[in-house]
Amino acid sequence: MRGRVERGVLVSLVMALLLLLSPLAIAANGSGPHWVSVEEKGHIVVVSIKPDKVLEDGTPVVFVNDKDEALLFFESGNILLDYAYQLAGVERGHTTRYTGLSYNGPGEILTARMASDGTLILLTEGEVDLEALKASIEGSSAKSVIIINVPFKSNVCATGNEEKQDAVLYNSFLAEVLGEVMCYPPIVVIDATKLRESGHSVDEVVDLLRSGLGFDNFYLFLVEDYFALAEEYGPEFLGPSVEGPSVSESQAGSPSSASSPSGDELRANEAGWGVEWAYVAIAGVGVGAFLATRFIKR
């Protein structure tokens, strides 16, 4: 009987541990969204977008039904680059510009960053010759290389065709369904729910973006309930520090607004508690395990 109780305690503890560690492990291992593709080609790791579907005209389409994946669009500046950094175990911002490359092949290297641990992170566009790139890297101090590659050229954010781009917002039903347009990688986000409600098809959207508005190549992301999520989790305007007619000369210029946390800071604090609670939970499980050990000894 006592043996069963001990085993029961042990099983419960192990299960609690697994439950506790699984999200941490996912975060630590850099498990990304379903549309991120990672391929190892020799000494080079290539990170790119793996579409769910390719339309007849070649437009890669990704369906995002998962809320957490959709939230990446609000909280991640550059989704593929964030993922590449996670993969490399390098913190964003802890790199320097790297100018030692002598690559003359096809495609274009948009930027090169070198981490202090020797990880080279490259943003490339077009069909890059990996062998030639590898040869140019071999003489450098790079220990490992991660490439974030977009295999096609895009004019989504090019200057000079603003008029065409503005037509996205002002001259079509796209204004009702367009979520955002990221420059690199070129991603056009459409609210899939709104698109269905509008009665228009994905092909119509692509046709408008391409022939009507002059966008060349892009990944089309169809995100369910994008606008609803944007309202709940998206960015907000910072606003003035004091509103209403209450600013007097004595108040103006005082730093009172800085001492009281804004909505932004409150949200940060709430998120901070997530980590705090993880600590408490880990400590709790640890103490429980210790007590269980004592119990088994007896």
């Binding site: 192990v14 911002g93 510009r97 690199y184 003035p240």
Partner: protein, 273 residues
């Protein structure tokens, strides 16, 4: 029994290993952030000539008690509305008039009046001439003298310098991705983050903004709206304008690139280069 103890020991080891993983998840890198001490806020002081990164008190038309005496060039009675930050100095291409970029969402009306630092007649600096919701910007034409400089606070004690604006960071230049950039705002002083992405269109507060730059790991708060965002050359220390701060979410802040006001308001940053 031995195997049970072994299992529990292993379990404790794993739990101890998990703690640093959990703590690392909450880390955000910062660089020389000079968030000012409450009693020593250079961004809240009086500056003449005007520079970017200092407080501007916004007033809107429609005050209950019109002044008995005309207050200067512009006559309508105004009501103090709130405090934001003067962005970067600009010149309107069509007229040659100069002023500053401010965030449009800092005031709800079609026009606003700027006072620096406080809402007193003699602190009046100018009036907004043109605005655009698409780039959340307004051109505050100033009659008070301005200089092509931005306030840069480099120490938490409030030590600062006025850095000349050497140039502009080009729109959508991917070589600046992952570079450290700064902002100086009235509420949180000079803080830094990482330039992480460019957006041609970005949904912010369910309003579509254009020419948006995403910045990760930067501290900001209400009152920082309009703050100039800039890059400092790591070797030479020269300052280059990126844009003005407008919004934020938990980990990411958003600025509008100077190309936006150029396209929508016809103004360009004033630089010394």
């Amino acid at each position: 029994m031995y195997s049970l103890r072994l299992a529990l020991t292993l379990f404790l080891v794993v739990v101890m290993l998990a703690a640093p993983i959990a703590s690392s998840l909450g880390e955000v890198p910062y660089y020389n952030d000079a968030r000012y001490e409450p009693r020593d806020n250079p961004a809240g002081r009086y500056f003449r000539p005007l520079v970017g990164g200092i407080v501007v008190t916004i007033a809107i038309p429609g005050g209950d008690e019109p002044p008995e005496q005309p207050r200067g060039i512009y006559e309508p009675a105004d009501t103090p509305y709130g405090r934001c930050t003067l962005g970067y100095p600009v010149k309107k291409l069509s007229t040659g008039k100069v002023g500053f970029i401010i965030a449009k969402h800092c005031y709800p009306t079609g026009v606003c009046y700027g006072y620096q630092p406080t809402y007193v007649d003699y602190n009046y600096i100018g009036q907004s001439q043109r605005f655009s919701y698409s780039v959340d910007a307004a051109f505050l034409e100033t009659y008070a003298r301005l200089s092509k400089k931005i306030l840069h606070i480099y120490s938490p004690s409030g030590a600062y310098n006025l850095k000349p604006i050497k140039g502009k960071v080009p729109w959508n230049d991917q070589s600046y991705i992952d570079e450290v950039i700064y902002k100086t705002g009235y509420s949180t002083g000079t803080t830094s983050g990482i330039l992480s992405a460019y957006y041609r269109y970005k949904n912010i507060g369910n309003r579509m903004l254009e020419y948006v730059v995403a910045i990760t790991g930067m501290t900001s708060a209400r009152g920082d709206s309009g703050a100039p965002v800039y890059w400092i050359h790591p070797e030479f220390g020269d300052l280059y304008v990126v844009g003005h701060l407008v919004a934020g979410s938990y980990s990411t802040k958003y600025a509008v690139h100077w190309q936006g006001p150029r396209a929508f308001l016809g103004v360009v940053p004033l630089t010394t280069g």
